[in-house]
């Protein structure tokens, strides 16, 4: 999947794989997640400077644990000068990684549960997850989200304070709440992926690094919980969506809708992997929203041309999705499938049921889907008005260009 030829990539992958393991070891040894997380970040930064120059040490994890421990001890020293003797003792212990410091298989999951603590906002959950579990630096996360590094640093530090205040600990949540907490984790990973897939603002449509990072993190969760249908579903959904990344924009950055995409540019390897995951998870478990969305994506992926799309299946899947997770966006997508099956008027009738929802009524997606369907009925002046309104309502520059293009095609 790597499309970078940066020679640093190899050890950066290693660093980012090791970062959550090292953090797990440190928190197990010293407690205090906040301080350990800072110390690991400093060790990762030190490694990214030293390793390219001096080579990767024989035991890279041990190296990181030793450096991070030293940083942590330094921190504790300066914070508790009066307890210098105890700290000095701890520093001696920290100089050599103890042989029992093997990362626990659960550490990554525990870290994810902690970073996606329900008291945090989604923005804080994503930032902290990318740093503590993803091993990204604050600067990298800040760049990905187009904010100053100081803003991102404040956000992460505030998030850790909040977790501490809420009594978050480095343990797996109780079985009773584990399911619900896992949904939060998956939602955060989904948000990271989406941020990479379609920037909520800005001119660049795809920030592939965040999408790839989200996939990597979900793979880690999937390795721990291979039996969880929704984890498989989310991984499949990401793979199937990511498979279309090269086809969904023109070289000049213009948006290409699904039915006009060059399907030979879709990544077959990702589609096969995603489809296999969906099939297995649909057969094994109770259905969840990610599995259904992945099944819909797999249905589109299996059509050789847009005209070959099995709309009956897409419609049926949206119907089930709407039942288990009612949401106006799902109804909107069901209306698109219905229009393919029974004609644009049927789709428009279903869209009319969304007008009562105040936020939905002026949402650019509803405006643009209605414009598409009106265009198909031959009402070009109605379509023109709605394309124009949709173009004004979107916060994406690429989408705005696309909608203005559609509008000028039907201009009366």
């Amino acid at each position: 999947m790597s499309d970078s030829t940066d020679p640093r990539e190899g050890f950066e992958d290693l660093l980012r794989e090791l970062a959550p393991q090292v953090l797990g070891v440190l928190v197990r040894r010293y407690g205090q997640f906040e301080g350990c997380e800072d110390a690991v970040q400093e060790a990762v930064l030190a490694a990214s400077v030293q390793w390219p120059a001096e080579g990767v040490p024989d035991n890279p994890r041990g190296w990181l644990v030793a450096v991070a421990s030293r940083r942590l001890i330094d921190q504790m020293r300066s914070e508790h000068a009066r307890r210098e003797r105890e700290s000095a003792l701890a520093a001696e212990q920290a100089a050599e990684p103890a042989p029992e410091d093997v990362p626990d298989a659960d550490d990554t999951l525990i870290l994810l549960f902690l970073c996606c603590h329900p008291t945090l906002t989604a923005a804080s959950q994503t930032a902290l997850t990318l740093r503590a579990v993803g091993g990204l630096t604050t600067a990298e996360i800040a760049r990905a989200f187009l904010v100053p590094e100081s803003t991102m640093a404040a956000r992460i530090s505030r998030a850790k304070q909040k977790i501490k205040a809420a009594g978050g600990t480095f343990t797996l949540p109780e079985a009773a709440e584990r399911e619900e907490r896992l949904r939060v984790v998956l939602h955060v990973l989904y948000l990271i992926f989406n941020e990479g897939y379609i920037a909520s603002s800005g001119g660049e449509l795809s920030r592939a690094d965040l999408a790839r990072e989200a996939i990597r993190l979900v793979r880690m969760v999937h390795a721990q919980l291979p039996e969880d249908g929704e984890v498989s579903g989310l991984l499949a959904l990401m793979l199937l969506t990511h498979a279309r990344r090269d086809a969904r924009t023109t070289p000049s950055g213009d948006l290409v809708p699904l039915d006009e995409q060059d399907r030979s540019a879709w990544d077959r390897g990702l589609i096969d992997e995603g489809t296999a995951l969906v099939k297995a998870s649909l057969a094994d478990t109770t259905l969840g929203p990610y599995q259904l969305q992945a099944a819909i994506a797999a249905t589109h992926a299996s059509a050789a041309t847009a005209a070959d799309t099995n709309w009956k299946q897409v419609y049926a899947l949206y119907l089930v999705l709407e039942r288990i997770a009612p949401n106006p966006m799902v109804t909107l997508n069901r209306a698109i499938a219905l229009a393919e099956l029974e004609g644009p008027e049927a789709g428009l009738d279903l869209l009319a049921t969304l007008d009562g929802d105040e936020r939905m009524a002026r949402h650019h997606r509803l405006l643009s889907v209605r414009a598409h369907l009106l265009e198909k009925t031959g009402d070009t002046s109605g379509a023109y008005e709605l394309y124009r309104r949709a173009a004004k309502a979107t916060a994406s520059l690429a989408e705005q260009r696309y909608l203005e293009g559609r509008a000028s095609r039907v201009k009366p």
Binding site: T121, A122, A123, S124, A127, A142, F145, L146, V147, P148, E149, S150, T151, M152, A153, A154, R155, I156, S157, R158, A159, S200, S201, G202, G203, A395, S396, L397, Q400
Partner: protein, 123 residues
């Protein structure tokens, strides 16, 4: 998502404030910036000089024409802005309500989502 919270000021309204009110306004902005920075939502802020110092530039027949004073003949002018990175539109509006200008009749606080950004954010 990022929002620009712009402050539309009316020099006559500002001039009419008492010294205490002016001081409270300044302190209110200071507190707003500190809170916003601590929460990790602050991106940038800038305040502009008085509208009387503005110049309007146009090019006619390839020649620049410069006139002193603001473009719009209005009572209110863009006085400055905050750029914030927040969870959603509701949060941006919540923040805007914490800006002291919002509590003063005749001053306008407007919230708009950013659609495109470029340039150095680390000021």
């Amino acid at each position: 998502m990022q929002f620009l919270i712009s402050m539309h000021i009316n020099p006559a309204v500002l001039d009419a404030l008492t010294d205490e009110e002016k001081q409270a306004l300044g302190e209110g902005h200071g507190k707003f910036m500190a809170d916003c920075k601590a929460s990790g939502e602050f991106v940038l802020t800038q305040a502009l000089t008085d509208p009387s110092q503005a110049a309007v530039v146009s090019v006619r027949n390839g020649q620049p024409v410069v006139t002193d004073g603001p473009f719009l003949e209005a009572k209110e002018f863009l006085g400055g802005y905050y750029l914030v990175d927040v969870e959603n539109r509701e949060r941006a509006i919540e923040l805007a309500a914490q800006i002291p200008d919002a509590g003063i009749e005749g001053l306008g606080v407007e919230v708009r989502q950013v659609m495109f950004s470029d340039g150095q954010l680390e000021a």
